[in-house]
């Protein structure tokens, strides 16, 4: 384990940003979000970001190809160049690290999504051990330990120091690159802080949420539960929950018809929106109940069915905090399934 005094962190950011892009949580006075570090920025590590770290690998909007026509009206396709520059995302909490693994399963399974893969290959995840979990956190429900966040390098902020522990070869290499700034530290230096975090977790209001009753094999039962109607009645059909979710990965492919040809891009989409499944001849989910149910069934039933029981919710609590009408996954889990 290595450490650096918090007072010297700026030197570390400078060293990293010299030949890589560095993304850190920045407070812009209205919300905290990941942004590229620039000289003078002070990252905030004690607040949850509004948007998750998925933006770094699966941005809200990315161009895929461009189409133009030559003089004979023949179509010319130009591919978009993939990411080639290494980048570091620093301050990802355990829940988001797990979320990246969930996304990996989708995008890195055959056929591989090369846009996503290029970003993953060029990324270094510097995770952050939680010290102040929020009341909306329920990652322990999904077996995540917020004190041990993993990633390529795990970061612990304790007292006046930031401690780093490499978890992968990539992480090792990264730490070696900035070793001039780091001092040696004992692995045990962060044990007390870890224990304190785990202690807090047991006191959180949502610590008793369990996934009992959910998972693979309950498709028919859960799908037909009458509670969906009441739960979905307050949903206003916006996409907030899906867009702040670190594991939601649905996207749309659209063409933009500009004056210099056509750009085909993909952008996030939300199953909560009315036109998600709209086809020229009809829509197979016409009510908000169906769309609402789709989102939660996907996270809590379909996903475990396809991925050896793994839920596609990591308990980060973003949707709990941000839903305009406070109708969130915790309510759904509790209403139809588990509470100890």
């Amino acid at each position: 384990m290595k450490k650096i005094a918090l007072a010297n962190m700026n030197a570390l950011y400078e060293a990293i940003a010299k030949d890589m892009n560095l993304y850190v949580p920045i407070d812009n006075k209205a919300s905290v979000n990941y942004a590229e570090w620039k000289q003078g920025d002070t990252p905030v590590f004690d607040k949850m970001t509004v948007r998750s770290a998925k933006d770094a690998f699966f941005p809200q909007c990315e161009n895929m190809s461009t189409f133009s026509r030559d003089d004979d009206n023949r179509i010319i396709i130009d591919k978009i160049k993939l990411t080639e520059k290494d980048f570091v995302v620093m301050g990802i909490r355990a829940c988001d690290v797990k979320a990246v693994a969930v996304l990996d399963k989708v995008f890195l399974s055959e056929p591989v999504d090369t846009f996503y893969k290029a970003r993953r290959d060029h990324s270094i995840l510097v995770s952050l051990s939680c010290s102040r979990p929020e009341e909306t956190c329920f990652c322990s429900t999904f077996g995540i330990d917020p004190a041990e966040p993993k990633g390529d390098v795990a970061m612990y902020i304790v007292g006046d120091y930031a401690y780093f522990n490499a978890c992968t070869d990539k992480g090792e290499k990264f730490l070696n690159g900035v070793s001039g700034l780091l001092e040696n530290a004992n692995d045990t230096d962060v044990d007390a802080a870890k224990a304190a975090t785990r202690e807090i977790m047991t006191k959180l209001p949502l610590h008793d949420v369990t996934t009992d009753g959910w998972g693979a094999g309950v498709l028919e039962e859960m799908f037909n539960r009458p509670e969906w109607e009441e739960l979905s009645s307050s949903c206003i059909g916006c996409g907030t929950c899906t867009y702040v979710c670190p594991t939601c990965q649905c996207y749309d492919i659209r063409d933009y018809n500009g004056s210099n040809g056509v750009t085909r891009y993909r952008c996030w989409d939300s199953c909560m929106k009315s036109d998600f499944t709209m086809m020229a001849h009809g829509n197979n989910r016409t009510t908000q109940l169906q769309r609402f149910r789709q989102r939660f069934m996907h996270k809590l039933v379909y996903s475990p069915t396809n991925n050896d029981g793994e839920f596609s919710c990591v308990g980060c609590g973003r949707c709990v905090a941000k839903c305009p009408v406070s109708m969130n996954i915790v309510k759904v889990i509790k209403t139809m399934g588990g509470k100890k």
């Binding site: 812009n28 209205a30 919300s31 979000n33 004690d46 607040k47 509004v50 948007r51 809200q60 909007c61 102040r132 979990p133 929020e134 009341e135 909306t136 807090i200 006191k203 959180l204 209001p205 949502l206 009441e230 009645s233 307050s234 206003i236 059909g237 916006c238 996409g239 907030t240 899906t242 867009y243 702040v244 749309d252 659209r254 933009y256 891009y265 952008c267 996030w268 989409d269 939300s270 929106k273 009315s274 036109d275 709209m278 709990v320 941000k322 305009p324 009408v325 406070s326 109708m327 969130n328 915790v330 309510k331």
Partner: protein, 326 residues
């Protein structure tokens, strides 16, 4: 507030039991003190989970739009400011007044949990209002903040405790917070140079994630299919694919509700990125007041709004194009 909650609950049970209404649209307890969910209470569900506390800022009038074809009668709980939206919906025939029973509930200003959190408070377990102060209990200890610092944006410019439409009132005697000038920020922006204003809006709107919460929560946005969802409109879009699409979305969103916007502040309240969207709507309100005379949408039902009206001496758009200064 607790006494009021009990009063409303008792009355709601009475209304349901007597069969006067089939459902009550109110707020249901959430996971925490600060996240009540709008919900429909019926005889079957009972009112055990009903709540009315300092975090019931949501404007419930929009939920009646979906009930227009229903033959059931619903009672709806409306705070003074929400009644403006109700009047506007009645004016536009977006709700069926005959099937609505409006209970005006008293209000002493609602709190914004985002603002509490912005004060560096996390792990909130309880919030109580004590006169001018708000006591916040968290897993990390207690804190006290001034109530005026954590009021919802819309409550800072409260229009008073008068319900503009109601069938009965409960707790109307509560004192609403004192209001500051609602055009203060608009004036401030207008006094800036064009470059400063552009930078301001670019900074704010670049955070937009196009979740459409502002649109979907807005009681004036009641189109069956929004132009931004309509594949045939040519401008449907799901993401801000460029720097401009989010501006276009927000200009049009605000424009489409201009003169119908009651300035209820829901757009800003629901924004996950805390973009001050109401400043767009409020600019239209201010312009309409200045150009065509004072007008408050939803002041009463069946008003004719200034954009479906005209005068032959109206000012010309060239006044804007040729305006002196920045």
């Amino acid at each position: 507030m607790q006494g009021l909650e009990k009063k409303i609950k008792d009355r709601a049970i009475e209304l349901l039991e007597s069969g006067k209404v089939d459902g009550i649209i109110g707020w249901e307890k959430g996971q925490f003190i600060y996240d009540p969910t709008p919900a429909v209470f019926t005889k079957e569900t009972g009112l055990d989970n009903f709540c009315y506390n300092n975090f019931c800022g949501a404007n419930l009038s929009k939920y009646l739009v979906g009930k227009i074809t229903s033959d059931k009668k619903y009672a709806v709980l409306l705070k003074p400011c929400d009644t403006y939206s109700m009047n506007q919906l009645i004016t536009e025939h977006r709700v069926n007044r005959d099937n609505i029973y409006i209970i005006g509930v008293g209000c002493e200003g609602h709190l914004d949990v985002e603002k509490i959190k912005r004060n560096g408070i996390s792990g909130i377990t309880g919030v109580s209002v004590d006169g001018e102060n708000v006591n916040v209990g968290t897993i990390y200890g207690e804190s006290t903040i001034a109530k005026s610092d954590v009021l919802l944006g819309k409550c800072e410019v409260c229009r008073g405790n008068a319900h503009k439409i109601s069938d009965e009132l409960i707790g109307e005697e509560l004192q609403t917070p004192e209001a500051s000038d609602r055009f203060e920020m608009v004036n401030k922006l207008e006094a800036m140079t064009a470059e400063e204003r552009f930078a301001f809006w670019k900074g704010e709107l670049s955070r937009c994630i196009r979740c459409n919460a502002c649109r979907n929560a807005c009681p004036a946005c009641t189109c069956r299919v929004c132009v931004f969802d309509n594949g045939r409109s040519g401008i449907d879009s799901k993401a801000n694919a460029s720097e401009f699409e989010e501006q276009m979305f927000h200009i049009i969103r605000a424009f489409h509700v201009s003169a119908r916007c009651t300035d209820c502040g829901e757009c800003s309240r629901v924004c996950p990125e805390n973009i001050p969207l109401h400043l767009l709507n409020r600019k239209y309100v201010k312009d309409i007041n200045e150009f065509y005379g004072e007008y408050q949408a939803g002041e009463e039902a069946d008003q004719r709004n200034p954009l479906v009206n005209f005068g032959d001496k109206d000012i010309d758009p060239t006044v804007i194009s040729d305006k002196e200064g920045n």
